[in-house]
């Protein structure tokens, strides 16, 4: 028999092994075997949304242990076709809002939220979203939000008419739809509502009743100057305060704990010499916060009109309450997205555009670990597990 012959020939080649007192053989290993993760992810873990530019319909979320240089990638969750992703530590669940076609690229369209178990990465449930209108865009956290104590989800729609679908995650059903003409992105606000940025520079705050219908709304005028100080879309959260940074480095905070967003005193990332023409924020997820409420902003020395997605080479650490630039971290190269873990010794997680992920000590700014491109091809959004 061929296999046995091969075995014999191979054995003859292994004759150098000592013949005296051989160890017992390695044990037979049980099959099938599928790994499980801790349901509560450690503080060094991060969810990395891989947009996967070269096959956008095959996006995924990588579960990554940034402390594990040997086995950083812990598993993948599907995030198909301009998907958006949310994570609930309390529910031990990951949520993806996706779009599918019956023939991959053509045929019948289905939009759905899938609920994934954090321990098994298996789907626990699915809620089909009606109308084929889920907003498809490069990943913004404001496309998809959890509200009402993570019991509900909001999904933004864009046809280009704008609206928000309200979903009861526990009951696995769609509650309704809120028209939101002229406004984009939603951010969980108050007990059961959201705030959204509108085309006239205002912010609208909406509260919902227990059926998902609008019970109140209020508008804050002129929260951003879309021409001269537009805000990056992905905020850094400090508790329930959302901090946004403008293309030119202005910091705007909104306390979203009450039913209506409350603007805080603006701050600035500060300045530094050496910019050509000047330092400005640049990248995709350009902001992060740490447990102390400090902000980390990815900065480009080549700031100009249109540079805001070019990535950055430094991270500036700012105290937004004291309006003080505390320190600068040299990233030794260009990065696209950043986040900061909630570890006892927090780490700045830096995603390069080629998928490489580097870890820096958030306090000292020293490079701690390089994970290589071991998790994602196009890492755009990174969410710490704690």
């Amino acid at each position: 028999m061929r296999i046995t012959a091969l075995v014999l020939s191979l054995l003859l080649g292994a004759s150098a092994v000592s013949a005296q007192s051989p160890p017992p053989p390695l044990p037979e290993e049980a099959l099938p075997s599928v790994g499980r993760l801790p349901a509560d992810y450690p503080a060094s873990w991060v969810l990395v949304h891989d947009f996967r530019f070269l096959s956008i319909l095959d996006g995924r979320v990588a579960v990554v242990d940034t402390a594990d240089g040997v086995r950083p990638l812990k598993g993948l969750v599907r995030a198909a076709q301009f998907a958006s992703m949310q994570y609930s530590r309390g529910r031990r669940e990951i949520f993806t809002a996706e779009t599918f076609y019956s023939r991959l690229t053509r045929g019948e369209r289905t939009d759905a939220i899938t609920i994934w178990d954090t321990a098994t990465l298996e789907p626990k449930g699915e809620i089909v979203l009606p109308g084929g209108k889920r907003q498809q865009t490069v990943s913004y956290v404001g496309q998809f939000q959890l509200i009402n104590g993570d019991r509900w989800a909001l999904v933004t729609n864009f046809t280009p008419a704008q609206s928000v679908t309200v979903v009861d995650l526990d009951a696995r059903r769609v509650l309704g739809e809120v028209d939101l003409p002229g406004c984009a992105h939603v951010f969980a606000t108050g007990p059961r509502g959201f705030s959204s940025f509108c085309a006239d520079g205002s912010m609208i705050s909406v509260q919902l009743d227990d059926k998902g219908a609008v019970v109140s709304s209020a508008t804050l005028a002129r929260v951003q100057d879309l021409d001269n100080q537009p805000l990056f879309g992905n905020p850094a959260m400090v508790g329930r305060t959302a901090w946004f940074v403008s293309y030119k480095g202005q910091l705007k905070g909104f306390d979203l704990s009450g039913p209506v967003a409350r603007p805080l005193t603006p701050a600035s990332v500060g300045t530094a010499p050496g910019g050509a023409p000047e330092w400005r924020p640049g990248g995709w997820q350009v902001m992060a916060s740490d447990a102390a409420g400090l902000l980390y902003v990815l900065m480009s020395p080549a700031g100009r009109e249109g540079s805001h997605k070019d990535g950055g080479t430094e991270v500036w650490v700012v105290d937004p309450v004291r309006n003080q630039q505390l320190r600068r971290i040299d990233l030794k190269g260009v990065a696209g997205s950043i986040t900061v873990t909630r570890e006892a010794t927090p780490h700045l997680v830096v995603a390069r555009a080629d998928g490489q992920i580097d870890l820096f000590d958030a306090a000292s700014g020293q490079l701690v670990r390089q994970l290589g491109a071991t998790a994602a091809m196009s890492p755009l959004i990174m969410v710490p597990a704690q």
Binding site: F53, R106, T137, T159, A161, G182, K309, G311, V334, G336
Partner: protein
């Protein structure tokens, strides 16, 4: 203003034909135009152009001295606000989609200067849809790009809307008018 207004009106009509949502009219003021494709950080150009070896393409010239430059290069004048895979590298041309795709009926508009005649042209960055990511010649230029709250100025949306499939393949850059010089 009048040139932009005429274009706006024409795209509004296309939008009205292409969609049936009751609330379309309510958002026309803000969302008449969308965005072509999606961004890749420019720092990722080299990575994204793999498997294409950078610089390996011969120049793709229009043959018309009044339309200068390499249409397979991100530096080509019409691409001043494009965001996506260039259809010129995907089986299409600078203004037509590859066979097998469907062109988005409405999309984002940019205004680019043609150095050859000094004019500002209004460029329509229509997406080609129904075939998966072309993967060739990614180009992202963000001059004038603004947050998604102003859709007509944001290039992160997938504008494969009003098409049979929302799967994104590549983006074209077609001349749809000359911007008026006088205000």
């Amino acid at each position: 203003m009048s040139g932009i207004d005429r274009l706006t009106e024409r795209f509004a009509r296309r939008l009205a034909r292409g969609t049936s949502r009751r609330s379309v009219l309510a958002v026309l003021g803000a969302a008449i135009t969308g965005a072509g494709g999606f961004p890749l950080l420019p720092v990722a150009r080299a990575a994204s152009s793999a498997p294409g070896a950078p610089g390996s393409r011969p120049p793709m010239l229009s043959g018309n001295p009044q339309d200068p430059g390499d249409q397979a290069s991100c530096d080509y004048w019409r691409y001043c606000a494009i965001d996506g895979f260039l259809c010129t590298c995907c089986g299409g041309t600078v203004n037509s989609c590859p066979p097998g795709t469907e062109m988005s009926p409405i999309t984002w508009i940019g205004t680019c200067i043609n150095a050859a005649d000094g004019r500002a042209y209004v460029i329509s960055y229509n997406d080609c849809c129904g075939v998966s990511s072309c993967g060739q010649c990614f180009c992202n230029r963000n001059e004038g790009d603004r947050p998604q709250a102003r859709p007509q100025s944001n290039n992160d949306y997938n504008w494969c809307l009003g098409t049979q499939s929302s799967i994104y393949n590549c983006s074209v850059a077609a001349i749809v008018g000359v911007a008026d010089k006088a205000k």
